[in-house]
């Protein structure tokens, strides 16, 4: 005999009247009795008194830690420029479903081509840069990275580590002055583990600033340069509102 319908199993789980033949089947069918037990457990869990004092959101800084950790193991590839096109005739229903919330995302194929080209280009740049970076140079640039917005990955500045006397300096340059709103801008070095960060100083209004740092910080993995917007709120922790970020090459 065929299995009862889901509706009949629900009725059985809730103790509603069910056709006798149907309930006799459930008693001898492992699959059906497992379903009834799952449904009963669901009712028990839903009906239990939940004494929780509402939802508690984590601190804003946790999101900054998540993105820093992801950036560290998944170096972001420069995004393709936004292309606005109507769906090409060959596009499948699946593509349209993925991009249905607007034409602002380029089609997957096109993105793949762009990403491929950019990966190839950045490999070449990386090789060239690597030679420049690690050439013995007592007072020159040790490493540098583009600073990009977190959402659109737009390049809006650059950070470089340079040797200065017996220590290191972190130079931060933005293409144009960043908007601090009614707060101020702070520069951080976030550890590649995404859990720790240190503030290296306040970025003065303007487009360039220099902060003394140490080789020990870099050696310990504090390699993600981050500029955040902070409020005058007496909270020393990162606000979670990052404007630009970039990870220094190893």
């Amino acid at each position: 005999m065929s299995h009862p319908t889901d509706d009949e199993l629900v009725d059985l789980a809730l103790g509603e009247p069910v056709d006798a033949e149907r309930s006799a089947h459930v008693a001898t069918c492992d699959e059906c009795s497992a379903t009834v037990e799952q449904l009963r457990r669901t009712v028990r869990l839903a009906s239990g008194q939940v004494s929780y004092a509402g939802w508690q959101a984590p601190d804003d800084a946790v999101w900054a830690r998540v993105t820093a950790e992801i950036d560290a193991d998944d170096p972001p590839v420069v995004e393709a420029p936004e292309i606005t096109t109507a769906s090409p005739p060959g596009e499948t229903a699946y593509d349209r479903r993925v991009h249905r919330d607007g034409a602002r995302r380029p089609s997957r194929r096109r993105t793949a081509a762009w990403v491929g080209a950019l990966v190839a280009a950045s490999l070449v740049v990386g090789l060239l840069a690597g030679r420049a970076i690690w050439s013995p140079n007592e007072s020159g640039s040790v490493s540098q990275v583009a600073l990009k917005t977190l959402d659109t990955r737009q390049r809006e500045g650059e950070a470089s580590v340079v040797r200065a006397g017996d220590g290191l300096d972190l130079n931060v340059v933005t293409d144009r002055p960043l908007d601090a709103g009614d707060g101020y801008l702070e520069v951080w070095l976030i550890n590649a583990d995404g859990k720790r960060m240190v503030s290296v100083g306040v970025l003065r209004p303007g487009e360039a600033d220099t902060f003394p740092i140490s080789q020990a910080l870099i050696d310990q993995g504090y390699v993600v340069v981050d500029i955040s917007k902070e409020q005058f709120d007496d909270k020393p922790a990162h606000s979670g509102d990052s404007l630009l970020r970039g990870q220094l090459p190893a």
Binding site: L45, S47, V66
Partner: protein
Amino acid sequence: MHVHDDPDVESAELAVRLVGGDREALAEMYRRWSPLVHTIALRALGTREDAEDVVQQVFVAAWRGRATLRPDRGSPAAWLVGITRHRVADVRTQRYRAHRNLQALATEVVTEPTTTHDSDWAERLLLVHELERMGDPRATVLRMAFIEDRTHDDIARTLEMPLGTVKSHVRRGLLELRDRLKEVERVASD
């Protein structure tokens, strides 16, 4: 053309985008569900520091393991709760080891943190969350049926709704909640 006010459709879209590697989808998931993940972890572990570490780990794991998300299973919330249960268990294991090491070093009595060891907590809070986001009148019908333990006849009279409609909401709603729990189970047993 596309209806966006159905939370299930929106959630499924978010899931498709995450699987496709869209960072903005992860950010949106964080906005929606980090309070759920955090509340479960806080409930299970007792300290904000540990709970926030778990939140960080869950969303990093969600990104790295996005290929294991099944958009056809509906809400990614259940998937995140499944990951949360793993992470909470890891923290507890570490605590247990630290506890043993401390005992080996000194015979001091180490007090257990005051947290619930009820393993159902994650699932209970997920169901609270699902009932909150479920549209009315279904959510109201389910609350009256399961939490207030009222009969279907009583609910039909109170809400001035045909009895058949009440029964249908109870059936569909209960099956939906059961599916969420199955999804938690699937991820937690990986």
